[in-house]
Symmetry: C2
Subunit: 324 residues, 2 copies
């Protein structure tokens, strides 16, 4: 796990071990090939950001239960399923410093492994006494799929607006971090207002997280990030810094930017832009992310002070300061 | 809907309209691109075999409830998700006489649309009062994914045995038809023994269905079947007739068969074998399918006579006599 996030997770270290236990138990298979694929994706279990949010919210709201452990495994499985399918969509080769499933075993295995993960996520959900979590998780995955489909349908649209971009990342990323915090609160029997603040915190953190992810796609190195980079623009996927750069350019520079974004090196990869050319746009995106973090933290301001609440604040700050 | 199955579905015609209603309601989206994709896959809703089984079993066991309508939509969505992802895996161009989603909108959209369908299937499940159906459906999709992964891992294994083939098709096909009949019975408050007979009927019918599907991949024309054919062998996927043919061949003919199976026409398609060369093997597979149908029908022998039970018998017979 990432060192900073790992420190944040101190108040929930034992609970996180339980989450990992539930996760691994659920994915056991009598089929060697399936076991091999699941062992491979254990590498993807990097930051464990979503279970961390779910457990910390539960702790900040008073308690962490067996349901939190199960739901922590559920949200991590949902997240991993989206990673595995994203890597197919993006034709990515590297994830968390190792080869992707599609690179190792082909697109078929990667599509099916994503399906397998999502199926097991719902299977775990259905082991809980109430339908509440299953309902909220399914609503969330409905929205995540819509966000991803919107993104695909907007590929190569060089006129994508900021508000459209925000709606895409809200659906594909922020609804999941939001539901993590909401369920963390609800399963600690938080009142409705607290659950809504938790959801709003998770939403804002998710927005900031995705914006910074999109910035890092331009500014980070593959070594730092441990995954394939620079593919957004090459695949015609506009992100906040690029939208800003295109919007603030005259016609000539705009045409030159699009030309530079779409020209590949023959391996399906776009030419890496020099970040210096985009520095004002990167600063714009970073500042939007910082205001989401500020807003996220404010949603917690009425909560009673606790180690877990401090960790949630630190998690929000981590999101914009990470290098990978 | 297929004419013969449509006639079988007479006892449940009104219920099927309800299923379609639930199905279409669930997939409504505020996103035009998503709506367009869903309209396209409405074409895939061909035989509606799985909801037909679920409703007929309910009717034969005494009643069809609101839960049956919801679950009918659920199993059809699960089935469609597998079709959409299968077409990506098989690089198929044609499905039910029209272009596939991957052909029209690319693999990305097809992967995501499959995810969208499966997410909505679980979303519908979570609207029911009890977790029973959600649990059984998730167990089933776990197994379906394992079956598909087993199939992928066995590609190009020209020594695949019959028992391995049966285990693959049990997981990828028969568990779903089985759970349709089981849930149809359970939600009609059938006793445990009846529910188990229903499950066994559905299992045997599913086995027969898949074997005949694999036979039709060799013997049918794309015009008759309305989907891409002859891809099993080209993709190194052994099916019952091919396993039989390879096993009953001397070394020379075996080598010639494999050569002929793997040589493509340059478009990724295998050379179509003359069925005459495989006629004994096709007869072997068809006879195995017929014995599954016989066994399926026997599971219903203690059920009280009814129009719905007759329709279930006819459905099992239809499975081996269909041309597509």
């Amino acid at each position: 796990m990432h060192a900073v996030l790992s420190a944040l997770a101190d108040p929930i270290a034992d609970d996180m071990r339980e989450v990992v236990h539930v996760f691994e138990d659920e994915l056991r298979s009598d089929q060697p090939f399936v076991g091999e694929l699941c062992a491979r994706i254990a590498r993807y279990r990097g930051k464990m950001l979503r279970p961390t949010l779910l457990l910390l919210t539960g702790r900040a709201c008073g308690r962490v239960t067996r349901e939190h452990h199960v739901l922590g495994a559920v949200v991590e499985m949902v997240h991993m399923a989206t990673l595995v399918h994203d890597d197919v969509l993006d034709e990515a080769d590297i994830r968390r410093g190792g080869p992707t499933i599609n690179r190792l075993h082909g697109n078929e295995a990667a599509v099916l492994l994503g399906d397998y993960l999502i199926s097991h996520a719902y299977h775990l959900c259905s082991s809980l006494d109430s339908q509440i979590a299953a309902r909220r998780i399914a609503e969330t995955t409905n929205t995540v799929c819509e966000g991803e489909l919107m993104q695909v349908s907007q590929r190569g649209n060089w006129s994508l607006r900021e508000d459209e971009y925000f709606e895409i990342i809200r659906r594909k990323t922020a609804v999941l971090t939001s539901v993590c915090c909401e369920l963390g609160a609800r399963f600690a029997d938080a009142d409705e207002e607290t659950a809504q603040h938790a959801a709003a915190y998770g939403h804002d953190l998710g927005m900031a997280f995705q914006i910074i992810d999109d910035v890092l796609d331009l500014t980070s190195t593959e070594e730092e990030a441990g995954k394939s980079l620079g593919r957004d623009a090459a695949l015609g996927k506009l992100t906040l810094p690029l939208i800003h750069a295109l919007r603030s350019s005259g016609e000539d520079r705009r045409a030159r930017l699009i030309e530079s974004l779409t020209s590949g090196d023959g391996n399906g990869r776009g030419t890496r832009l020099y970040p210096v050319e985009l520095s004002a746009s990167i600063e714009h995106a970073s500042s939007v992310a910082r205001s989401y973090v500020q807003s996220a933290i404010e949603h917690l301001s009425d909560w009673p002070p606790s180690e877990a609440r401090d960790a949630l604040t630190a998690a929000a700050e981590f999101v914009v300061h990470r290098r990978a």
